[in-house]
Symmetry: C2
Subunit: 338 residues, 2 copies
């Protein structure tokens, strides 16, 4: 039985999340029962939604239970199998959590999926060809409903969702403007990800200043916005939305740490006849096959080459996660396990 | 030539609108040219959107020009005609403005419409069977998209839009809860308009208190909200919206007088996967025939009997309008002219 390292939620954040909210423990992996598979995790995905689950408040998912392994997406390979559809060595994606190994009841629908790594790197199934990619696809295709020539804006532009959004939007003939933190990320968005422009929000102290920068980057106004952050960035973008603009609300990371962040100018929803719509991609499983097909093609053909930030070893996960919440990652945040 | 009294916008409000923003003048009606019709106005409609046009700021319509007759909907009869489709005595609806008479180029599309008053009172074409009614219809049918059994909430429930909304929603098998100001309006909403419940917002000093009252009135949560006011009422309703709820934003009267009113909990758009959509009914002329047909039927059969507040004479219009902005009217606000 291999030894399994695990990270549990030990206590809930009071305001900002801190490393001591987590606890590292170890125990042997249990013996398998019929229908179960032991998966050795190669990569763990760290995502902003995890911060929301650390609070014990009403949200779209149940809170992360205290004393249990942190939930999270994983890719790896089958180490042992008592299920006929899975063989040792199969590459798989699942929700294995913050641990080196997971035992999966492989017959549960959606619990474990075999993936093809001949043209797509294994870890891409946690990013561009996984939940973040489908998140970008859903917000773009189903809420923003872009037309060629539209100007679209995405915040957290160099992250896993933002980079996929950029590639998907460019493929539809749109002008795509990113918002990101720092000159390196902005240069990367334009030079590597193919954004038409990228604005460094850290150069702007208030919504009025950011709004002015958006006016320059979006001379025809903004038709669609993919919202990952909330707060001042949302306020600024709303002032530049064209009539009948669409805002897909995927995340409001700026508000995770406590005090709710208001929207300063909700009257613009009326004045500009906006549609502002929130969504959770796991509630729209019907679109996943179509979305994953397009995303897999973009990655396999090199049209989408997302950057990754890779932390080494499970013990590094809490620090990497806290950094993600502050925008310290550059591209998709992963933890390489065993 | 009859003498025409007119009310002009003399100067723009600094904060709250006041009577001295308006100016009453008189002049003879001009001689008609070919294709023109002289309309004698029986009723002028007063509506909250007029306050927005008094500001010189970007909005969905051009500002009301200074020194010109205030824009507004009117019903009346043809007093003189040099257009073959209109005869003296025809009952007509149009945008005649704040004046006793208007000269209309009757060939302009939408400028003047003959109406049938055999089963529907003339002034209803300014309310339930006019723009306010169609506004309620569009927000309900096209944005909220109700299902039988849904719980719907509308603010300014006893106004022209709110009362039509109630009748249209009840006809679709929904539970309808109003929000209005004062016990008289609330009793009227339940006893006369057929609302299932009505909450007096004046009994609640903050969103938390109003939210608690909404929980009692909406034990299954809120599936759709028709927004006429903004501010604290919107904040409270958002805390009670069910997953996948729809909010039709028709007005934010609470913010007309200056400082923008923030939305306190925009993260609820994500948490509850809400759709929040603004609209202007005059941009959706394609729905008017269908909407007016249903609204006319509801009025003709007595299923919708909206109340009216009628001010007497053009000179009373400014005061009646300022009262409307403070919720002093009870039902559709009209001015009876000549």
């Amino acid at each position: 039985m291999p030894l399994n390292h695990q990270i549990l939620l030990d206590n809930r954040p009071l305001g900002e999340a801190v490393a001591s909210n987590f606890k590292l423990v170890s125990q042997p992996t249990p013996a398998l029962q019929d229908g179960q598979v032991l998966v050795r995790h190669h990569y763990l995905s760290l995502d902003p939604y995890m911060r929301g689950r650390m609070n014990d408040t009403k949200s779209y998912t149940a809170p992360q239970p205290l004393g249990e392994v942190m939930l999270g997406g994983t890719v790896g390979e089958v180490a042992e199998s008592r299920h006929p559809a899975f063989a040792v060595g199969d590459k798989v994606v699942g929700m294995g959590g913050w641990q080196d190994y997971s035992v999966v009841n492989a017959s549960e629908p959606g619990a474990l999926r075999k993936v093809d790594t001949s043209h797509i790197p294994l870890q891409a199934y946690l990013g561009a060809v996984g939940m973040p990619g489908v998140t970008a696809w859903y917000g773009l295709v189903k809420i923003i409903e872009p037309r060629a020539g539209d100007t679209l804006v995405v915040s957290a532009a160099t992250g896993a969702v933002g980079s996929a959004f950029g590639a998907l939007a460019k493929a539809r003939g749109c002008r795509v403007v990113g918002i990101a933190g720092g000159p390196d990320k902005c240069a990367y968005a334009v030079n590597e990800l193919g954004f038409d422009a990228c604005i460094d929000y850290k150069q702007h102290l208030d919504a009025a200043s950011l709004s002015k920068a958006l006016k320059e980057a979006c001379p025809s106004g903004i038709d669609g916005y993919f919202e990952n952050v909330g707060g001042m960035v949302l306020d600024a973008v709303m002032t530049r939305m064209n009539a009948f603009g669409r805002i897909a609300v995927c995340g409001m990371i700026a508000g995770y740490n406590g005090a709710p962040l208001p929207m300063s100018y909700p009257a613009l929803i009326l004045v500009s006849r906006l549609k502002v719509q929130g969504f959770i991609v796991t509630e729209h499983l019907e679109v996943w096959p179509e979305a994953l097909k397009e995303l897999g093609m973009l990655v396999a053909t090199g049209q989408l080459r997302p950057r990754e930030s890779i932390a080494q070893g499970l013990a590094a996960a809490p620090e990497a996660f806290l950094g993600l919440l502050k925008g310290k990652n550059f591209g998709k945040q992963l933890v390489q396990l065993c």
